[in-house]
């Protein structure tokens, strides 16, 4: 649908936060879902760009947090308040916080934090019984984002940067392991991990979850044409548990959030 850009600002060099608005835009939107954005009116660039919901600010408005990483996102970064933007969504299967979940570990790397704030908002609102713990990692100080927002929500947040330019130096997966080792003695039953970020990080998060048998849900990316399950362009190979075979699943429709045990890393 045609939306109006309410704001579009640089948060740190190369990263932007945009809010768009349209009647009913976010009514059925949930954490982990995404929109397909048409960034130009001509035929180049031709395809829509997928962006995760970063924050739902009202039934009629929501925010994206995005990295300028190519032609489409750089066109996007030039939009100003009042501009029109054609946004298709909400799409896909997002993060589900099952009833059995008692404790949520939320792990984000770099821009992967984008959908996770929406998830913590959701938990704060829908699952006050859960006290999530957030783990944020990034290359340098500019790539660990949303710290203030997590603080505002009063969430315990662990931070690591690879270059140590700010906060503890190291990989966020180490801090995740430390945390689990520290608290798992009373058992990890009802624990769940929700993660989004670069593939290497997601892979080791999945491994850690597996070792400590904690359920782990991870948001994946793939190049997309349609975003609605029609083109079969966005598939990734998953493990088909019953038949113990590999099956292709659509990131746009079956995902983008998958049970990390099914992902063939």
């Amino acid at each position: 649908m045609l939306t109006t850009v309410k704001s579009n600002e640089k948060v740190v060099p190369g990263f932007f936060e945009m809010e768009i608005e349209a009647k009913g835009l976010a009514k059925h939107a949930g954490p982990g879902q995404f929109f397909m954005l048409k960034v130009a009116f001509g035929t180049d660039p031709l395809l829509r760009r997928p962006l995760s919901i970063h924050r739902i600010t009202s039934p009629d408005s929501l925010r994206f947090l995005y990295r300028e990483s190519g032609r489409g996102t750089s066109i996007l970064s030039k939009l100003v308040p009042g501009d029109q933007l054609d946004a298709l969504g909400p799409l896909g299967n997002g993060f589900k916080v099952g009833k059995t979940v008692k404790h949520a570990l939320i792990v984000g790397g770099g821009i992967g934090v984008a959908p996770l704030l929406c998830l913590t908002d959701h938990i704060a609102k829908e699952r006050p019984d859960i006290t999530p713990v957030v783990f944020i990692g990034g290359r340098d100080k500019d790539s660990v984002m949303c710290l203030d927002q997590f603080k505002e929500l009063g969430i315990e947040t662990h931070i690591r940067t690879e270059d140590g330019s700010i906060h503890k130096k190291g990989l966020i997966t180490h801090s995740l392991e430390e945390y689990i080792d520290k608290y798992k003695k009373d058992g990890t039953g009802g624990w769940a991990i929700f993660s989004c970020g670069p593939t290497p990080m997601l892979r080791s998060v999945a491994a850690i979850a597996n070792m400590n048998d904690i359920k782990c849900f991870t948001s994946l990316e793939a190049h997309m044409a349609c975003g609605i399950g029609a083109c079969l362009g966005c598939v990734i190979p998953l493990l088909d548990r019953e038949h113990e075979t590999q099956v292709y699943r659509k990131v746009c429709e079956d995902g983008p959030v998958f049970d990390s045990e099914e992902v063939l890393w």
Binding site: T43, L47, G229, C231, L232, Q246, Y248
Partner: protein, 309 residues
């Protein structure tokens, strides 16, 4: 002169296959219809062509399967599909509720496979025509192999023709020196119509990784980028061969559709545009109606092949 209130006639005939309006969807770009039924009433279309079907399910190519190119895209889906039986049992019933023609796109690796899928679909109610894809650039054997040799083109089409009484549409390969001889072979084999064009064989390389952007290395180029090639081929074939043509290749709006019909297409198929705008095909069907009204054209058949060339 037409009275203001008079609504122009949009019905077209692909041989025995009648469409209430000339807009269908292009195979592989519309799933099995259900994906788009969420966005509009499919009855606004003349028909839909479903994703290519084979006898057995096919997993398709490994990812990445698509990439964007200037005003176009490359795809190498590898004809992933649920197989003809699952299609008939699980997908086809859903489409019965709509007032549209369902065109089943088929392919195989051997003449026998084509024949078998066609025979199976011939018995399926709710399938109104078969589109024989002999031009897929994304499968090693079969597909395009048949499409670039006139004799195998004839052989496959003849075999399909013999096992079905339903309208048969031949989807020919544009990746040949001239499509005309293939169109002639198709006519000889007794098909009712032609679909032009399938994707152009293309390739793109990521200069950072030095890898092809598609796991399949090469893929099919679609979208507005190929429109001038499609218009040229349709014009050439329309002049040379009597068969009605479903024109496709980069149609994004109603003006593009009209351009294809002026070039010689009797109907048009909307493909890549569905990805950019989910309601594209329906919008184009409406847009054509408006075009006829504004230009006081009583019957859409009056514009087919009317380019002054």
């Amino acid at each position: 002169m037409v009275k203001k209130d008079h609504t122009p006639s949009t019905e077209v005939s692909l041989g025995p296959l009648k469409l209430k309006n000339p807009v269908v969807t292009a195979s592989g770009t519309f799933g099995y219809g259900a994906e788009y039924a969420k966005f509009y009433d499919l009855s606004r279309l003349g028909g839909i062509t479903v994703k290519g079907l084979s006898m057995k399910p096919i997993p398709g190519n490994p990812p990445p399967r698509i990439c964007e190119t200037p005003s176009g895209m490359l795809n190498a889906i590898g004809l992933q599909n649920v197989g003809v039986d699952e299609f008939i049992n699980k997908k086809l019933p859903f489409l019965a509720q709509y007032d549209i023609k369902v065109i089943a796109n088929i392919f195989g690796n051997t003449v026998e496979e084509y024949e078998a899928v066609a025979a199976r679909l011939d018995r399926a109610d709710g399938v109104h025509a078969l589109e024989v894809n002999i031009s897929c650039p994304n499968v090693k054997k079969g597909g395009m192999a048949f499409g670039v040799d006139p004799d195998s083109t004839y052989e496959v089409l003849k075999a399909v023709r013999q096992v079905t009484g339903k309208p048969v549409i031949a989807k020919l390969s544009p990746n040949v020196t001239s499509v005309v001889p293939f169109a002639e072979k198709a006519a000889e084999a007794g098909v009712d119509a032609l679909s032009l064009i399938n994707t152009l064989l293309g390739m793109a390389i990521d200069i950072r990784t030095r890898k092809p952007k598609l796991a399949n290395i090469t893929g099919g180029l679609s979208g507005p980028a190929i429109r001038p090639v499609a218009i040229r081929i349709i014009w050439q074939v329309h002049r040379a061969v009597g068969l009605p043509i479903i024109g496709m290749g980069g149609i994004m709006d109603a003006s593009d559709a009209v351009e294809f019909m002026l070039a010689g297409a009797t109907a048009v198929a909307v493909g890549t545009a569905n990805f950019v705008n989910p309601t594209a095909a329906a919008d184009i069907a409406d847009g054509i109606k408006n075009y006829l009204g504004e230009n006081k054209i009583e019957d859409i058949n009056q514009i087919i092949g009317q380019v002054q060339a």
